[in-house]
């Protein structure tokens, strides 16, 4: 019997893996991918809760999350491209101009 709790547990695991990836990785594109993984994990929890509560609001919110994530990726990757063009690097450690 697969209950919503199984899916919630999986979503927790994926979310934690994504969070650790954000903390550990230094390539900005990979950090972005880890953020996407966290958003996907949250979506899975939303859909599982929608099934559990027998309503579609959770699915709709997951849909909105996907739209916002797509917009975020577009802007974020454009920022990365322009940073790479100026600095020849996509490491998050190299974008330190604001520090000085």
């Amino acid at each position: 019997m697969v209950s919503p709790a199984h899916f919630i547990a999986l979503s927790v695991i994926l979310f934690v893996i994504g969070a650790v990836g954000v903390l550990v990785r230094r390539n900005a594109i990979v950090v972005f991918m880890c953020v996407e993984l966290m958003l996907n994990a949250a979506n899975l929890a939303f859909v599982a809760f929608a099934r559990m509560h027998n309503g579609l609001d959770g699915q709709l919110i997951a849909f909105f999350v996907m739209v916002v994530a797509a917009a975020e990726v577009v802007v974020g990757l454009a920022i990365l491209t322009s940073i790479f063009r100026a600095r020849r690097s996509a490491s998050v450690d190299d974008a330190n101009l604001m520090k000085y």
């Binding site: 019997m1 697969v2 209950s3 919503p4 709790a5 199984h6 919630i8 547990a9 999986l10 994926l14 979310f15 934690v16 994504g18 969070a19 650790v20 990836g21 903390l23 550990v24 990785r25 230094r26 390539n27 594109i29 990979v30 991918m33 880890c34 996407e36 996907n40 899975l44 859909v47 929608a50 559990m52 027998n54 579609l56 699915q59 709709l60 849909f63 909105f64 739209v67 916002v68 994530a69 797509a70 975020e72 577009v74 990757l77 454009a78 990365l80 491209t81 322009s82 063009r85 100026a86 600095r87 020849r88 690097s89 996509a90 490491s91 450690d93 190299d94 330190n96 101009l97 520090k99």
Partner: protein, 282 residues
Amino acid sequence: MSHHMLLAGPAAETTRVLAYWVLAVISVTSALGMILARRAVHCAMMLALVMLSLAVMYVELGAPFLAFVQVIVYTGAVLMLFLFVLMIVGITAADSIIETIRGQRLWAALGGIALLVLLSLVIGHAAIGPSPPATAKFGNGNLNALAQLLFTKYVFPFELTSALLITAALGAMVLAHRERTGPKPTQRELAARRIASGRPTPLPGPGTYAQHNAVDMPALLPDGTQSSLSVSPVLSGPTPDVSDYPEGLPEGSSEAEPARLASPAGSAGSADSGGQEAGDQW
């Protein structure tokens, strides 16, 4: 998508349990592989695997519309965008394994474990019951029910997302736009530059006289030796790195020099870690 109606009985239940565990193992393994793989392209492929397994789970959870959106938007559009940017930024992109902040990985692992414990406790305390029997809105009527909800109760957020998408498209165009600082080189100047470079002809194509015509097979020179120029440096070695390109990327390297000179903080930042390290950042 009427599998909830079609599949019933103990056999269907076993299938569902089996599907869940197979997908769970695949998605967790590839998520772990994503944060452990050094090359950014491998990370993207692993992420694709996670997203596709989640799409199958959405079908299982009675969200066929979201499953398709997941495949089309995430795996199709977002991940392709990631791959395009990886191609621009350099396919050889690999993370350095040198820690710049001491103990970063240890603290990140501890933080991850703490987060896992916290979330597990929260979920363990919540009463998550079994899912109720699926109604039509989790099967055939999913699309209609979602549309009804979207255009009545959530119509204002829906309109807001259109504003967000327009803003994002404009922002991406503004950020990716590059002003030309110098005059555009004429064909005469390009030809003179090419002659002056010492190689007026194009680079040889790969594998022309070899046994295969794959792009990673080097072409054979008339004396039988392999021409290293015929294979892209990206494909030539098992672990190619960015030090093959002293200027970063081969094309546009002449435009990179003013940008590098204009950023003294960047050179100051990488000066302490040595010149070779700057190439190993990837």
